[in-house]
C-alpha cells in the first residue's frame, strides 16, 4: 500500500469538510437529540446565494460572504422555529421531519432571488492561492479549506466550551423541564444551536463548492451523510473535538483506499466495515446518555381514541376494507396498462412499508436500510427467477433476506434508536454500491468466483414467470398478483398483531427492562422483529423485480429507504392501514398527477412536514376518524329506524351509499 503525501493532504481536505458536517450533526444532536438530515442542505442555499451575490449583483466577495452567512443563520433559526413543536415527539418523527426540511430547502435554491442566472461559472473564491505536491495541484478552494475549516471548528469548540450556551445545550437535551426551572431559555438555546448549525453548514458548503462543477444544489447524498454520521458517532454524538478529528481520519482513510484499491466496491466494503466497527467499539460511550429519547413518547403524537371495541365499528372497518379491495381488484379491468403497473407498484411499496411498520412501528427499531433488503429479494429473483417457481421463490427469498436482516440487525441487540439508523443506512449504501454493482468477485483463499451481484448492474432484464400456472406477463394480471400479495401480507401482519407478536415487540420497545422482567426474551424478540420484517421485504423485493422487469443498481438507491420511512411516518407509525395509505400517498399521488409541480410539492418535503406537524397520527388517524364518523352515522340511522313511525324501507336504501363512502 503506497501513500504519497498528496493523497494524505487530499484526504485531510476531504475529511475537513466531513468534519464540519459532523460538527453540525453533533451540535444539533447534543441540543435536541435529533439526527438532522437537513444539516447539509441548510447551508447549500447560502452557498448558492453567495454565487448570486457575487456574479449577478457584482458584490464584493466579503460582503457577499457576510450576506450568505446571514442568510444561513436565518434559515437555521427559521428551521428551528418550524420544527420546534416536534421536539417532544418521537425522535423518529423529528428525523423524518428534517428529511422533509431538507427537501424544502432544496426547493429554496431554485427561487429566483437565490438561484444565480448561470450555474456553470466557477464558484467564487476570495484569494488565489495554490500549491503543488509533486504533480498534484491543490487549488485555491482546497487551500482555503485547509486553513478556514480548522479555524471554524476551533471557534465552535470554544463557543461551546466557554459560553454558557454550551452547557445549557447539553443540559436541555437531557432534561428540558429541569433546565427551564433553572432559568435556561430552552427555546432560545435551541434557536441558537440551529442558527450556529446553519452557519456551520454554510461554511461546509462554501468551502466544499469550489472545484465542484455544477452539483451545487445537490441534496446531501446518503454516502456523505453516512461518513459524517460515523465521525459524529466516534465522538459519541456529543464530543465535538473527537468527531472532528475522526472525520479527518475518515477522509484520509478514504483517500488512501481510493488511491490503492481499484474498485469502488472494495472501498465501500471497507467503509461499511469501518462504520460497523465504530458502532461496536463506541457502544459503551453511546449508551451512557439518557435512554429517554429512545423509548419515551413513542405514541404521544397520536391521540386516537379507538372505538374498535364496538362490533358495529368493526363491521364498518371491515366493509370499508372489503370495498376498497374489490374496487382495486376491478380497477385493472378499466384502466390503462400504465395505470395497472402503477397499481402493482403501489401494492409492492405498501408491502415494503408494512415490513417497516413491523420493525419500526412495533419493535421501535429504526431502519434506514429497508431497500437494501428489498434489493436482496430482487437479487434472488434475478438469479433464481428462471429456475425456481415463483410460489417457492417468494418464501425462499424471504427466508434468505430474513437471515440477512437478522445479521444487519445484530447491533440492535446492544444499541437502540438512532444508532441503528446509521448501521442500516450503511448497509443499504454498501449493498447498492458494492454488492449490487459487482456482478462477480473472487472469494479470497479458496479462489472461487462468486456471482452475487446484479448480472448487469446497468440494466438487468428478467422475465416474468407464471404463478401456479397463471401467466403474469400482462400488467393486468401482475396487478392482481400484487394486490393478492398485499392482501396476504396484510392478513399475515394482522395475524401477528392478534396473536400477540406485536404486543411482545411493543412491550420490548416501550420498556425493555419491564418486558424482560415479565419473562419476555429480549434478544429473541428483537431478532424476531428483524426476521419478520426481512422476510416481508425479501418477497416484496422479488415482486418488485418482476414488476419492473428491467432494473439497475439505481433502482435500489438508499434514498428509497428514506422514502419508505416517510411512508410509514405519513401513514401512521404503527398502523397497518397507515403503511398502505402511506404508499398510496407517496407513490400513487406523484405517479397519478406527477406532471404538476404542486403535487410534487405536496408529496415531497413540504407535504411531509405539514403532515408531521399537523397530523402526527398520520393518514391512518384520518381514516380512523372517518370510520368513527361513519359508524356514528350508521348508529344514528339505526336508532331512527328503531323509532316509530317505521320508514325502514327508505332508510335501508340510505345505508348503502354510506357503506360505499368508506372506500372512497
Amino acid at each position: 500500500m503506497s501513500v504519497p503525501s498528496f493523497v494524505l493532504v487530499n484526504g485531510v481536505i476531504t475529511g475537513l469538510s466531513y468534519g464540519l458536517l459532523a460538527l453540525g450533526l453533533v451540535l444539533i444532536y447534543r441540543t435536541n437529540r435529533v439526527l438532522n438530515f437537513a444539516q447539509g442542505q441548510l447551508g447549500v442555499v447560502a452557498a448558492v446565494f453567495l454565487v448570486k451575490c457575487y456574479y449577478d449583483f457584482g458584490f464584493n466577495y466579503w460582503f457577499a460572504l457576510v450576506l450568505a452567512l446571514a442568510l444561513a443563520a436565518v434559515i437555521g433559526a427559521l428551521s428551528e422555529l418550524l420544527l420546534r413543536r416536534l421536539f417532544d415527539r418521537p425522535r423518529m418523527l423529528v428525523m423524518v421531519a428534517t428529511i422533509g426540511l431538507s427537501q424544502v430547502l432544496f426547493v429554496f435554491t431554485a427561487l429566483p432571488f437565490i438561484r444565480p442566472k448561470s450555474l456553470f461559472r466557477p464558484f467564487p473564491v476570495p484569494v488565489d492561492v495554490s500549491f503543488h505536491i509533486g504533480t498534484y495541484l491543490f487549488a485555491s478552494g482546497q487551500v482555503i479549506t485547509l486553513v478556514v475549516a480548522p479555524l471554524v471548528a476551533i471557534g465552535l469548540a470554544a463557543f461551546v466550551k466557554w459560553s454558557p450556551w454550551g452547557l445549557a445545550m447539553r443540559a436541555m437535551a437531557q432534561n428540558s423541564d429541569s433546565a427551564r426551572l433553572s432559568g435556561v431559555w430552552v427555546r432560545r438555546t435551541s434557536t441558537v444551536a440551529w442558527t450556529l448549525a446553519g452557519v456551520l453548514s454554510a461554511f461546509t458548503a462554501i468551502l466544499a463548492s469550489p472545484g465542484q462543477t455544477s452539483s451545487l444544489t445537490e441534496v446531501l447524498s446518503p454516502e456523505l451523510l453516512l461518513l459524517a454520521l460515523t465521525a459524529a458517532m466516534v465522538g459519541a454524538m456529543v464530543n465535538l473535538t473527537v468527531a472532528f478529528v475522526a472525520a479527518i481520519g475518515i477522509g484520509v482513510v478514504q483517500a488512501i483506499l481510493v488511491w490503492n484499491l481499484n474498485s469502488t466496491a472494495q472501498v465501500d466494503l471497507v467503509l461499511f466495515a469501518m462504520v460497523l466497527a465504530v458502532l461496536l467499539v463506541r457502544i459503551a460511550a453511546l449508551r451512557t446518555g439518557p435512554r429517554g429519547e429512545e423509548r419515551s413518547g413513542w405514541m404521544e403524537g397520536s391521540h386516537r381514541q379507538l372505538r374498535t371495541d364496538s362490533p358495529l365499528r368493526r363491521r364498518v372497518g371491515a366493509s370499508g376494507v372489503v370495498v376498497a379491495v374489490v374496487v382495486v381488484a376491478l380497477l385493472p379491468l378499466v384502466v390503462s396498462t400504465g395505470r395497472s403497473f402503477l397499481i402493482s407498484q403501489i401494492c409492492i411499496y405498501a408491502v415494503v412499508a408494512l415490513s417497516l411498520t413491523v420493525l419500526t412501528g412495533w419493535a421501535g427499531q429504526v431502519s434506514l436500510g429497508q431497500f437494501g433488503l428489498v434489493a436482496c429479494g430482487a437479487l434472488m429473483a434475478a438469479h433464481l427467477g428462471a429456475s425456481i417457481p415463483l410460489v417457492l421463490l417468494m418464501p425462499f427469498a424471504g427466508a434468505v433476506t430474513a437471515v440477512i436482516a437478522v445479521i444487519v440487525g445484530l447491533p440492535a441487540l446492544r444499541v437502540r434508536g438512532l444508532y441503528l439508523a446509521v448501521s442500516t443506512l450503511a448497509f443499504s449504501v454498501w449493498f447498492m454500491g458494492a454488492v449490487l454493482a459487482t456482478p462477480c468477485w473472487n472469494l479470497p483463499l479458496v479462489n472461487r468466483r462468486l456471482c452475487t451481484g446484479l448480472p448487469n448492474p446497468q440494466s438487468t432484464l428478467i422475465n416474468r414467470p407464471t404463478f401456479l400456472g397463471i401467466g403474469l406477463g400482462s400488467e393486468r394480471s401482475f396487478a392482481w398478483f400484487s394486490l393478492a400479495v398485499l392482501v396476504a401480507s396484510v392478513l399475515m401482519v394482522r395475524l401477528w398483531r392478534d396473536r400477540g407478536v406485536a404486543r411482545r415487540l411493543i412491550s420490548v420497545r416501550d420498556n425493555e427492562v419491564g418486558a424482560g422482567a415479565m419473562g419476555i426474551p429480549l434478544a429473541r424478540s428483537k431478532v424476531l422483529a428483524f426476521a419478520l420484517s426481512g422476510f416481508m421485504a425479501g418477497y416484496a423485493g422479488v415482486c418488485l423485480a418482476f414488476a419492473t422487469e428491467r432494473f439497475s443498481t439505481a433502482t435500489f438507491d438508499p434514498t428509497f429507504s428514506i422514502l419508505v420511512v416517510s411512508m410509514v411516518v405519513i401513514g401512521g407509525l404503527d398502523s397497518i392501514a397507515g403503511a398502505v395509505l402511506g404508499a398510496l400517498y407517496l407513490v400513487g399521488l406523484p405517479a397519478l398527477f406527477g406532471t404538476t409541480a404542486t403535487i410534487q410539492f405536496l408529496t415531497s418535503g413540504l407535504g411531509l412536514l405539514a403532515f408531521i406537524l399537523y397530523l402526527p397520527g398520520g393518514l391512518a388517524e384520518l381514516l380512523h376518524r372517518f370510520g368513527d364518523l361513519v359508524t356514528l352515522g350508521v348508529e344514528q340511522l339505526g336508532r331512527r329506524r328503531d323509532a316509530p313511525p317505521p320508514m325502514s324501507g327508505r332508510l335501508d336504501a340510505g345505508l348503502d351509499p354510506v357503506a360505499g363512502e368508506v372506500a372512497g
Partner: protein, 734 residues
C-alpha cells in the same frame, strides 16, 4: 361501621357540592349587565361618543391607514411601468409583490408585541414615519433589488393598520361605540382602493413618470407626527370602568404592574380562549377563500370568459365597490346587536361567510357574464361586514393587554395558514381538473370551505359570553388585589385564584383557590392524580392554566415562563426528575447558577454555600450525576435549586423513593431554609410527615381543594383521609 363512614363520605356536604357544581358548569357566565358594551335600548350616538372622547384619534388613525393603503394599491397600478423600468417579467413582479405582502406580515407580529408592552400611539406613529420616509425612496431605486428591499422596509406601514390601530381605538372609545369606530376606520380600505388610487394615478399621469407617484407617501409624515401628540389610553380602561361600575365597586384601586408576557405565552393564552380559537381557525380556513378567490378568479375569467387584462380589471373594480355596501351594514348592526347579545356579531359573521360561499359558487356556473359579476358583487357585499364583526368580538374577548397580538394573529392565520394551503390545494385541484374547467372546479371548493368557516363561527359564538366573563373575572380579580394592596395588608407569597387546567380535553384542576402567606411552610396533600403536581407545574410556569390567576408575591405570573419566574425568586423541585444524569455534578450545579451567570461572585458564593450544606457532593464534583445514588441525586437537586436562594420553594415529593434517613436529612434542610424566611410549599404523600413539618395544609381531591386549614384540623376530617390512606395513618396518629 367502616362501611357507614365510607358511605357518608360518598355524599359530600352541601356547601362543597354547590361549589363543585358551580365550578364544573360550563355556563357560569356573568350577568349580561356587567358585560362591557351591553345594555338596554339603543347604543349612544357616535357623534356623542366622539365629542366626549375626541375626534382626533379616529380621524388621524383612519388617515394613517389610508396613506399606506393608497400607496400599496398605487404600486399595483403601475406594475407595467415597473416591469418596463426595471426590465423584469410578470413572474419577478409577482415575486416583489409577494415579498411585500409577506414582509407586512413579518412586521405585524413584532410591532404588536411592542404595542402590547408599550405605547400604541408611538408604535403607530413610528411605523407610519418609517413608511413615509422609505416609500418615496422607492421612486429613486436604481434597480429592482433596491426597490424590493426598500419596499420590504416600507411595508412596516401596513403592519399596524388592523392591529395596533384597532387596539388603540378599542381603548380610546367606549365599548358601546366600538363597532362604529372600527367601521369608520375600516373605511380607509375601500377609500384607498378608489380615492387613493385616483390620486396616485393622477400624479403618475401628470408627471409621466411612475417615480413621482411614490411621493404620495410623504403625506404620512405630518399624520405620523400628529399621532405622537395623541393621548395613550390605558389598556382595558373601558372594560374596567364599565365592569366596576356595573358591579357597584369603587373605581379607584392601586394597580399592580403588568408582567411582560412573551409572545409564545400570549399566543398560548389567546388560543385557549375558546371563541378566539374558533374565530382563528375559521379565519385560517377563510384565508383559503380570501387568497384563492382572486388568484383563481383571474384564471376563471380568462379561461371561462376569455377576458383580457383590461376587462378583468374593470370586472374587479365593479366587484370591489361592493365593500362600500357592507361597511354601513356593519356600522349600523354591529354595536346594536352586540349591545343586546354579545355573541350576535359572530353569528352575523357566520351568516356572512356562508352567504358569500353560496353566492360565489353560484356565480361560477352562471350562463352570462353579467350574472357572474352581479352574483360576485353580491357575494363581496355579503362578506364585507365580516372583518368588523370579528374584530368586535376579538376586542371584547381578548385580554386587553394582549389585544394587539390577538389582532395580529388574525392576519397571520388568514394569510399564512389559509392562504398558503389555499394556494397549494386549489392549484393542485385546478391542475388536475384540466385547463378549461380547472379554475371553476377549484373555486367551487370555496363553497364548502366557507360553510365550514361559517359553522366554526357559529360554534365560537356560543362561547362569547363565557369568554367575556373570563375578562370580567380578570378585572375583578385585579381590582380585589389592588384593594388589598391599598388596605396595606401583607402580600401573600403565593395566590392561586379560580384555576382551571386541562390536559387535552381532560380537566385536571377545577376552580382551585389557595393562598400561602410569606414565610409559611404548607403541605399539599392528596391522592394520586389529584392534580398536586399539575398545580405546582402551573405555578412554576411549566404549564399554563386555562382559567384563573396565579400571583407570586403579588405579581401576576399566570402566563410567565419558568425562565422568567425564576427571577421572581421561585424554585420548583420535582422529586427524582431534576438532575442531568449525563453531566458532572459540577456542571449540574453550574446549571443551578445559570440564571445568575452574569454575576460571577454570586455564583461562586452560592456554589460554596451548596458545598457547605452538602459536603458529600464536593468530593464527587467530577463524577457524572447519573452515577450518584437516589438520595445523593435528590441532594444534588436540592443543592441546585437552593443556589438561587429562592423566597418561594415548591417541592414536589421530596421523599420519592428515598430511604427514611435520607428523607430526614433533606427535610431538616428544608426546615432550616424555611426558618430563614423562605416560604415552602410541599407536596407530600405522608400525612405524618406533613403533620411534623407544616402548620397549614391543603387537601386536593380530583382537582378540587377539599380542605384548607391548619394541619391538625385535617386529622379531624376522617372523611377525607380515610379513603385515601385506608385509615392507617389516621389511627396511627390519632
Amino acid at each position: 361501621m367502616a362501611d357507614q363512614v365510607l358511605f357518608d363520605f360518598a355524599v359530600p356536604d352541601e356547601l362543597l357540592e354547590e361549589v363543585v357544581a358551580k365550578s364544573r358548569d360550563p355556563d357560569v357566565i356573568a350577568d349580561i349587565g356587567v358585560m362591557p358594551g351591553t345594555g338596554e335600548g339603543k347604543p349612544p350616538s357616535l357623534v356623542g361618543i366622539l365629542r366626549s372622547n375626541g375626534f382626533a384619534p379616529l380621524v388621524l388613525l383612519t388617515a394613517a391607514a389610508l396613506v399606506p393603503g393608497s400607496f400599496q394599491n398605487g404600486i399595483a397600478l403601475i406594475g407595467t411601468n415597473l416591469e418596463h423600468s426595471f426590465h423584469i417579467h410578470d413572474a419577478a413582479l409577482g415575486a416583489v409583490t409577494f415579498v411585500a405582502s409577506v414582509s407586512q406580515l413579518l412586521w405585524a407580529v413584532p410591532l404588536a408585541v411592542w404595542a402590547d408592552r408599550g405605547s400604541r400611539k408611538v408604535v403607530a406613529g413610528v411605523a407610519l414615519l418609517i413608511f413615509s420616509v422609505f416609500a418615496p425612496l422607492m421612486g429613486l431605486a436604481p434597480n429592482v433589488w433596491a426597490f424590493t428591499f426598500i419596499y420590504l422596509v416600507a411595508s412596516i406601514g401596513y403592519g399596524v393598520n388592523n392591529t395596533v390601530h384597532n387596539s388603540y381605538l378599542a381603548d380610546a372609545y367606549p365599548t358601546e361605540g366600538r363597532g362604529r369606530v372600527f367601521s369608520w376606520h375600516n373605511l380607509s380600505d375601500p377609500l384607498s382602493q378608489t380615492v387613493g388610487i385616483l390620486i396616485f394615478g393622477y400624479i403618475v399621469t401628470v408627471a409621466h413618470n411612475w417615480r413621482w407617484g411614490t411621493f404620495v407617501a410623504l403625506a404620512g409624515i405630518p399624520i405620523a407626527l400628529a399621532l405622537f401628540t395623541l393621548r395613550e389610553p390605558d389598556k382595558g380602561q373601558n372594560e374596567q370602568s364599565h365592569i366596576l361600575k356595573a358591579s357597584g365597586m369603587d373605581l379607584h384601586s392601586q394597580q399592580a404592574e403588568a408582567p411582560r408576557v412573551l409572545l409564545g405565552s400570549a399566543v398560548t393564552r389567546l388560543l385557549r380562549i375558546r371563541s378566539i380559537y374558533y374565530e382563528l381557525v375559521a379565519v385560517a380556513i377563510l384565508g383559503f377563500a380570501g387568497v384563492g378567490a382572486p388568484l383563481f378568479g383571474n384564471l376563471y375569467f380568462v379561461r371561462r370568459w376569455g377576458l383580457d387584462t383590461a376587462q378583468r380589471s374593470e370586472v374587479y373594480s365593479i366587484i370591489g365597490l361592493a365593500a362600500f355596501l357592507g361597511l354601513p351594514v356593519a356600522y349600523v348592526v354591529g354595536d346594536r346587536y352586540f349591545r343586546r347579545a354579545p355573541e350576535r356579531p359572530l353569528v352575523i359573521a357566520g351568516f356572512c361567510i356562508t352567504a358569500y360561499g353560496g353566492l360565489f359558487v353560484a356565480s361560477l356556473y352562471m350562463p352570462q357574464l353579467w350574472m357572474v359579476v352581479t352574483l360576485q358583487f353580491l357575494a363581496n357585499a355579503a362578506v364585507s361586514p365580516l372583518a368588523i364583526c370579528i374584530f368586535l368580538t376579538l376586542a371584547a374577548t381578548a385580554p386587553p393587554e394582549m389585544r394587539t397580538i390577538c389582532f395580529a394573529m388574525f392576519g397571520v392565520y388568514s394569510l399564512v395558514f389559509g392562504a398558503f394551503a389555499g394556494g397549494v390545494i386549489l392549484g393542485a385541484v385546478s391542475d388536475a381538473a384540466g385547463y378549461l374547467h380547472g379554475p371553476t372546479v377549484a373555486l367551487t371548493l370555496i363553497g364548502p370551505v366557507c360553510l365550514v368557516g361559517g359553522i366554526l363561527l357559529f360554534i365560537g359564538s356560543r362561547y362569547v359570553k363565557r369568554d367575556i366573563t373570563l375578562v370580567i373575572e380578570d378585572v375583578l380579580e385585579r381590582h380585589a388585589e389592588g384593594k388589598r394592596r391599598q388596605a396595606g395588608r401583607a402580600v401573600p407569597a403565593l395566590q392561586v385564584h379560580n384555576l382551571d387546567f386541562f390536559y387535552g380535553s381532560n380537566q385536571v384542576l377545577f376552580d382551585v383557590n389557595l393562598e400561602v402567606g410569606q414565610g409559611e411552610m404548607v403541605a399539599l396533600l392528596g391522592t394520586n392524580g389529584a392534580g398536586k403536581s399539575t398545580l405546582l407545574r402551573a405555578v412554576s410556569g411549566l404549564d399554563h392554566p386555562h382559567r384563573g390567576v396565579i400571583r407570586i408575591f403579588g405579581i401576576n405570573c399566570t402566563y410567565l415562563e419558568p425562565e422568567q419566574i425564576i427571577d421572581q425568586e421561585v424554585a420548583l423541585l420535582v422529586g427524582g426528575k431534576m438532575t442531568f444524569p449525563g453531566l458532572t455534578v459540577r456542571d449540574n450545579l453550574r446549571i443551578g447558577g445559570y440564571s445568575m451567570r452574569r454575576q460571577g461572585t454570586r455564583v461562586r458564593s452560592a456554589l460554596d454555600e451548596a458545598m457547605d450544606r452538602f459536603p458529600e457532593l464536593s468530593t464527587r464534583l467530577d463524577q457524572s450525576a447519573g452515577t450518584l445514588s437516589g438520595g445523593e441525586q435528590q441532594m444534588l437537586a436540592l443543592a441546585r435549586v437552593m443556589m438561587t436562594a429562592p423566597k418561594l420553594l415548591l417541592i414536589d415529593e421530596l421523599a420519592l423513593g428515598l430511604a427514611p434517613k435520607a428523607v430526614d436529612r433533606l427535610m431538616g434542610i428544608v426546615r432550616e431554609v424555611n426558618g430563614q424566611g423562605t416560604t415552602v410549599v410541599l407536596v407530600e404523600q405522608s400525612v405524618n410527615r406533613a403533620m411534623s413539618l407544616a402548620e397549614h395544609a391543603f387537601f386536593l381531591e380530583r382537582g378540587e381543594v377539599r380542605f384548607d386549614g391548619p394541619t391538625s384540623g385535617l386529622l379531624q376530617r376522617d372523611d377525607l383521609l380515610r379513603p385515601v390512606f385506608l385509615g392507617s395513618a389516621v389511627t396511627g396518629l390519632g
